[in-house]
Symmetry: C2
Subunit: 337 residues, 2 copies
Amino acid sequence: MPVTIYDVAREAAVSMATVSRVVNGNPNVKPTTRKKVLAAIERLGYRPNAVARGLASKKTTTVGVIIPDISSAFFAELARGIDDIASMYKYNIILCDSDQKLDKEILLINTLLEKQVDGIVYMGREITDEHLQVFNTATVPIVLAGTKERSEELPSVNIDQNQAGYDATTRLIQGGHKKIAMVTGPFQDPLAGIERFEGYRNALRDNGIDFRQDYVISGKLTYAAGLEAANLFMSLEEPPTAIFAASDETAVGVIHGIQDMGKRVPEDIEVVGFDNIRLAEMVRPRLTTVVQPMYDIGAVAMRLLTKYMNNEQVDHHIVVLPHRIEERQSTTQLSEE
Amino acid sequence: MPVTIYDVAREAAVSMATVSRVVNGNPNVKPTTRKKVLAAIERLGYRPNAVARGLASKKTTTVGVIIPDISSAFFAELARGIDDIASMYKYNIILCDSDQKLDKEILLINTLLEKQVDGIVYMGREITDEHLQVFNTATVPIVLAGTKERSEELPSVNIDQNQAGYDATTRLIQGGHKKIAMVTGPFQDPLAGIERFEGYRNALRDNGIDFRQDYVISGKLTYAAGLEAANLFMSLEEPPTAIFAASDETAVGVIHGIQDMGKRVPEDIEVVGFDNIRLAEMVRPRLTTVVQPMYDIGAVAMRLLTKYMNNEQVDHHIVVLPHRIEERQSTTQLSEE
DNA sequence: TTGAAAGCGCTAACAC
DNA sequence: GTGTTAGCGCTTTCAA
């Protein structure tokens, strides 16, 4: 039923090979022939079959993307960066939500590999041995974006989470605070759960501030968790005067929790968030936060993948992008500068 | 290099056809044979090539999804619904950001068709004749999600945008307001720009309230636009006492704009938003808004598409999902009930 | 500059 | 139950 390359060949009175050359922009075609073929394509409404092409050429110009949750502001922004660069390099993306479930992740990787994607961008919590095992069966490159991998064998793009946690905490210490609490991710989460938390603890230690267990709450980094954390902290005998939340959504929850109790941010309590999703500007006071270049993490990861797919030289397979702190109104301005 | 079905056949001492049967769960295989084949597959680490299968079977178990912007909370939620149902039916998704650009949309549709997707879910502003033309060249089903199409020929899933705008406005009128302003989308946008606005105007008319041009601002529905709109409205000689914003993000901007001027929501001015993205609960006061079942729109669209792909009977190709108003604190409670 | 022909890895009759 | 075989629509040598 549909028009094939053979139909075009017949219509243009040339061979399939010539049609193929024209379609693929091969310069070794006489202009008149090219014109003839193009006309036939137009006349017949020919649309090349990419599946057949993929089988013959062993390239699909499609990459797989595994993402924990596309409806999260953070990952959606990463995805946007990935997609933009992919589109720039003429790749399409097979997007797979993994829900952070290990078995679903493994299944998805296998499915993507079966579909003969030319490469994979993986986003997730952590790379386990099981992941590594499946990745090893792949003959195509894989790049991690915003994902922890201890062995540092796989190419990856990230920020220095530990340092970022350290910096956020230090910022609060510079503001004169000694009673600094933190809302961190689940301790199973190597990035938002552990690394940022360790940065926090190191900053306290380096500034001679005792670590207090009751100043730390670990759990899902939701808005509700921030609300609740604020309540808990404020009901302490000696409530903190500053709170560092490991996600913006949680930080906004913290701010609202504080405000709901009649306290003020930053006058009574200062708050610092993490990520710099757009929400950070949609709260009063606007949120001071650690800027993670989300779009860039995605974009750079995809760019890196294109290099691998084209067998280009790659200098550093581990890319650490810079982070910084965006000063807004949930902290008071530092006086000394 | 990679293991093919032929290698497995040889290893298991059966024919390719038998291997194919085992892989595809065809029951016409003796259990002992099946075991033998499975063992060979395991031993060789065979992974079926979905591209070859697609070429032979003319099915790719992949659907294309065109989306204006995956980093928008609204569309990300739709995408999530689409992906969940797709995954449930064992389909993968090729996700394409269109940026609402007509030529990119057309290009993407063609690319998806070349890649032999089994169907397409399209999200966008409006279906033009040019869209229709390309869609007509497709031999696979296409379903629109949250997208306006006048002819009502194409299957689609949406809410009644006009009625929703009407309801939101009516809610404000019931609150005793006569001076009701609206921030609406660009007038080129048939959904957020025109339909909701017409609902607003009809509600005013039906309640004997004169329409005032200076109570309407049309433009991009961003947070900043809301901020700005609030400023404009408040600087009017006779400022409105209620504002209906055609998106939650804009509504939150309106709220903050009002608060920044020292006025209070809802005491001085009431605000109603649209969509019910998660942001609506992350603002003080929490936002009263028109609930669009975003996830469901995506999920139902995908479900509908599976029916078409399986040649199942479809009763209504135009699905209109219910909307409702979620009462929160940016409006005062209605007294009469 | 062009054409012929051999696959790419699999499915789906059809025959046994 | 199982095997044989002819494609699916294209790319890619290799010759001409």
